[in-house]
Symmetry: C2
DNA sequence: TTCCAGTTTAGAATTATTATAAACTAGAAA
DNA sequence: TTTCTAGTTTATAATAATTCTAAACTGGAA
């Protein structure tokens, strides 16, 4: 079901995340990366979608492990915005978000849409790891 | 142990949060608000400190309930920065933070220390609820 | 083809948080 | 003051997200 060009890319992504290309992991890759547009998800939604139509099942543990490995390797971005649940993003370019507190959905804000004209210097010996803004919105 | 001036303030804070001034809640107030400087905490650290030296105990449920009520009433600010735990701030003025991923500690950034010279318009029918920046730092 | 380190998986464990329900109490009213 | 009751406290159970475990399974090197 995976066209061979993409297969190579997925195998490469897995290998460089220190993961062997198994059929479960390739199924996850296909769902995450075989798309025109990037998207946001939680482990809960990913698990439901991956295991929707019968065929073979992928365990929740494998989904957690793979998402975690891809996040460490930089193929997914984790977005901390919600009290009890982690969100992930297949858009790994640095960018900002709206977070709708009603629908609990994230929307991308292109990096150039926010300009920080003044940023403080971090404490001695510390470096800025990440400066992405989450703007909370509601009705 | 609570000087009477502060007592009045605490009773007022509790009443306006729709809470009766009980001795457990006053103990929490004293710990949170009887200080020169504001500070950041988690429910876990607050519970430990409140119940450190013997005397009378305050249950974890009461701590959760009181913190939640003060947050809704605007006497505490909740800061979502960590995957599995909520942080709270007794500094309720709008301001930004450094979050140290090593020590897991928050540091205030005065509101004027960050200047956003360009901010996107929220989607139709939505308003910006909050625009406070968390800058992740590490060694 | 063999073989084993790496993998998958179901289920248990952990952690933060929220809910429950019985015993207690603040404070209004008698 | 005493009574009375709605609100409160508390221990404990329940829930939800996440992480761990250990036994069965398999990718791929040799
Ligand atoms: Mn939680
Ligand atoms: Mn959790
Ligand atoms: Zn995004
Ligand atoms: Zn602060």
């Amino acid at each position: 079901m995976i066209i061979s060009d993409n297969l190579k890319i997925y195998v490469q992504k897995l290998r460089s995340s220190n993961l062997r290309p198994t059929k479960q992991r390739l199924k996850i890759c296909q769902f995450l990366f075989d798309r025109e547009k990037t998207f946001h998800f939680t482990v809960e939604t990913l698990n439901k979608k991956i295991n929707k139509n019968g065929a073979s099942k992928v365990s929740l543990a494998t989904i957690y492990n793979t998402v975690e490995a891809f996040t460490s390797a930089g193929y997914l971005k984790e977005i901390l915005t919600s009290k009890n649940k982690s969100y992930y993003d297949t858009n790994i370019k640095s960018h900002h978000h709206f977070y709708d507190e009603g629908s609990k959905e994230l929307t991308d804000i292109h990096y150039s849409q926010i300009q920080l004209s003044k940023v403080p210097i971090p404490p001695k010996g510390k470096k800025i790891k990440n400066l992405e803004v989450v703007i909370r919105i509601q009705k």
